[in-house]
Symmetry: D2
Subunit: 306 residues, 4 copies
């Protein structure tokens, strides 16, 4: 390769308002409901001149996007985060002339009712986590040419099994000093994102169901590697949910090392571990249907949060 002399031009670009912290309370009856969200909007389109000559004539301010996000929480926020994202993405694609494609990314933080008198309190909750439900909706074009992709998912789902996991029979090279393991802790902090082929009837129930299928598979499969576990988890979810086209997973292998107590004449048969921070194995895997429709720009990221 050599040094370059070609003309310098603008490449791909996008912009929006990131991390709008929307809390929506539903208080039509004494039994309130809550949705606690982090919403980001991203616009792609005819914004070249904002870059090349500083002309903002086609640029909808990110503040206007923020106002829209909060207003839609009232006017279009009665359903799931996927539906709220659809409403927002369609609005920007349909109603703002310079927008060719809009992407809405949402995180939802879970809350559970405080237990009082044998039931859940009407208007008080505690946060539950660390896992976070996520969604990303991309809408491109208008009218008959409009296309739409919906991704749902979960991130920071920390899951651990204390047995039923091994790692052996691996490739070795001159730097291999690792011993095979036949009974180890397997733990990860899973991010899984699933692309819908079609809209399910009930987005919230579908989220709960996919999550449940995946963690049950993690629990019950005897694991020969985190890779195998991830594939089986994705396969199980796709089998159970034909509305899904594809699942992508990112999973750090959170190492738990057996602590050497033998120096002190204390036995340690898989009982005392130290949980290491870094480094960690990091696996990315995807599972999809052979007849999955084209992903288009479904996976083109914005904030990195989804």
């Amino acid at each position: 390769m050599t040094e370059l002399t070609g003309k310098i031009v603008l490449g791909p670009h996008q912009y929006g308002k990131a991390e709008n912290r929307v809390v929506r309370i539903y208080r039509d009856t004494a039994r309130h409901e809550i949705r606690d969200l982090n919403v980001s909007s991203c616009l792609r389109g005819a914004f070249d001149e904002a870059h090349t000559v500083g002309d903002q004539g086609g640029v909808l301010p990110t503040d206007s996007q923020k106002q829209t996000i909060f207003t839609y929480a009232k006017t279009h926020g009665d359903g799931s985060i996927e539906q709220y994202g659809q409403a927002l993405a369609r609005h920007f694609a349909d109603d703002i002339a310079t927008v060719e494609s809009a992407r809405i990314e949402i995180e939802e933080y879970a809350w559970q009712r405080v237990p009082v008198h044998g039931g859940g309190h009407d208007h008080t909750w505690t946060r539950v986590g660390p896992e976070i439900r996520i969604a990303a909706v991309t809408v491109t074009g208008t009218g008959a040419a409009q296309r739409e992709w919906v991704i749902g998912g979960v991130k920071d789902l920390v899951i651990l099994k204390s047995t039923g996991s091994e790692f052996a029979g691996f490739l070795t090279d001159e730097f291999t000093v690792l011993e095979p393991a036949y009974d180890r802790i397997l733990a990860t902090s899973l991010t899984a994102r699933w692309r819908f082929a079609t809209d399910p009837q009930d987005w919230d129930a579908t989220y709960d169901g996919i999550r449940a299928v995946m963690i049950a598979e993690f629990a019950t499969l005897h694991s020969k590697a985190l890779q195998q576990t991830l594939f089986q988890m994705g396969q199980a979810a796709l089998e159970a949910y034909p509305c899904l086209a594809e699942i992508r997973m990112s999973a750090p292998n959170k190492h738990h090392w057996s602590f050497d107590l033998s120096r002190f004449d204390v036995p340690n048969n898989g009982e005392v571990f130290y949980a290491d921070d870094r480094p960690y194995g990091l696996i990315h895997a995807s599972v999809l249907r052979a007849d999955a429709p084209d992903a288009g720009t479904a996976w083109d990221p914005y904030t990195g949060a989804v």
Copy 2:
């Protein structure tokens, strides 16, 4: 005041090994149990010469403390974090000649069994949070002169009520522009630490009970201020648990501001809020019994985690 010319001397000092990430699996039957801990040890005593002349003769290495922490997870880790902390603190105070006082601080991360086939899985869990159980045990002296203080608690307990909270009738000055609020969201991320007057029969059940009493009080009390809510929460816990001498709470007032939708002719009757990050009100309050025993060094901190 004037400039000083006095002799320069060593003041208070302490040291230890912070943040040992211990995971303890109990696998005596097919139904495993897990305790996931972050343990810090702190020693106070005759370590002056390590500072003043670099003589380590009285200094037990922090690595030795780490080895002890992991070993005790096997040999003394069958109970609650308070009991495990007692075992460690007593050991350092009793067995290391230069130690005058030992403090053990522990964080415990909660896990719940994965639901499978209508029950919890034997050896697979997901993390639950964000709240973390905490404990701090301080043991001073040896033999008949030995004294011990145990603190339990919870941190990062995020709790929110969507109504039943007001803030009005406050003092005003020339910088006061705040309007009184008669129906607002009240939310906090509570850290509460309670000092035991005597050891309860069941440390784990006591933790669960204190936590439950406090969040029920938060839910059911009509709040005139976060200060009032905290006092009532502490009072309720002390009333229910006579084993407690004192409760100290730190509570950020996590502001949720009503978002102005009126500009767009959309009503917002306590339905759409933005959750602000900073600044935040921050309240510290304590509630205690008039006959509480002397706190001694119970509250002298080490890592700040407890």
Copy 3:
């Protein structure tokens, strides 16, 4: 779209060891040097059976990758992070039969010598940041078919100008309430990544030079929008460095809002601001040469850190 019934198959996958914290000291003379790194390795290739049937026969353990990373810090770590990354990526692509492509991502933390006696100390440094130098090297194939892409960059470069920035003439819709600004603070935490068309003579000097050109452009350009500023920064870097093919930038618009002091009869002419956390505008932009060579898999991410 409809529900899917197609065969479920494995999609794209990759794995490696993330966040190896390598500190390399050069002590051949009394004047030591330091390189403080966070290194991640990522392998892509013939690992399907690890996923589909749990067969690890083609999988080089992530621990072996870690051993290689630390060993190469001694044997191949005498130059820049780009060169160290090249050595590692070439090794995995050349020497591990199942590897089709290897990607090495590196963060480098900067240190500066402690000033003593009018010069820098021989073996003591303080960390400087928050900005972090980054690199990502991807090597695909072997022998004559081998291809290689090198990305350098900087992340978390926080830069602010207190005047010389405006935002006006923008598109408006029914949610637009923002007023145009003719003199505002412009601030961002820049991540910029540049793809090399050819290897420069001196990687470290090239890093310093690109960084300097970009921040000088940020300072001296009268900004009509962050988009324009980013484009000009990228253009300036490409003009100065013909070894570069392309620059990609991610830039949050860190809002600084003028604080309303007029209620207290205190003037505030661009003097007192509050720095808001969220939400923030977020701009992604890229600048490239018309004759830039194919990017191949240069930008396919692994950890997200680079």
Copy 4:
């Protein structure tokens, strides 16, 4: 000890507005200046009834404190953070009837001018860190009975020496497996806080000077332990600055472990280390003058940031 039956009463309490992110630009000439601050106010006093009966009559809203903090950035913010803190603390103690004591805690983030044309740019800066300058001012009472304490300091000052450090001759017990080290990396992320006995002439120069003395001592002292290094650093600062009464330091021992390359027949003579995250040694030490005036409530914390 036994269970308690005594009356339940309110204990110590305090409240305020935490983490006001104030950015102050000085633009009286074309050469601007910047101060970038995180300011927290804390009031102690006659607020019992806010807790016990929910009466806010004595409670100045935290919003009013915020308004004051931003207004004073214009009217009283022309000097150092110590002086700005004094103005705020005196105001609350003097002017708010229910306040018995006010504490102001401030973090200051450093910026350096962007180099252009051989000089620093007039109105553009990049952030430098990670270290943060800190201050805490406490004012108690009014009139002749008023007392005031000023603490300055630095936190997150990351410093490392690659030789000139040992750790040997330590106490051993049955859990001691650590080998003595005669040439190791010594690294910490220092928080140092110094209490003033009297106001210096130039607060900013004093900060720079104390910092310089401490890091020079860290560099030049052959260390027999981190404890010894801390003591000598504190002593050096007190000797150089007779305006100081006391220095308190918190210093994690950031472990850098030699990586074992011998398995691969590669020598490693203090050249390749891995920087471990947790656990870490954690040392707290203080150095003071024998004639130091009473510390009063100088060290009573609020946010934990200072």
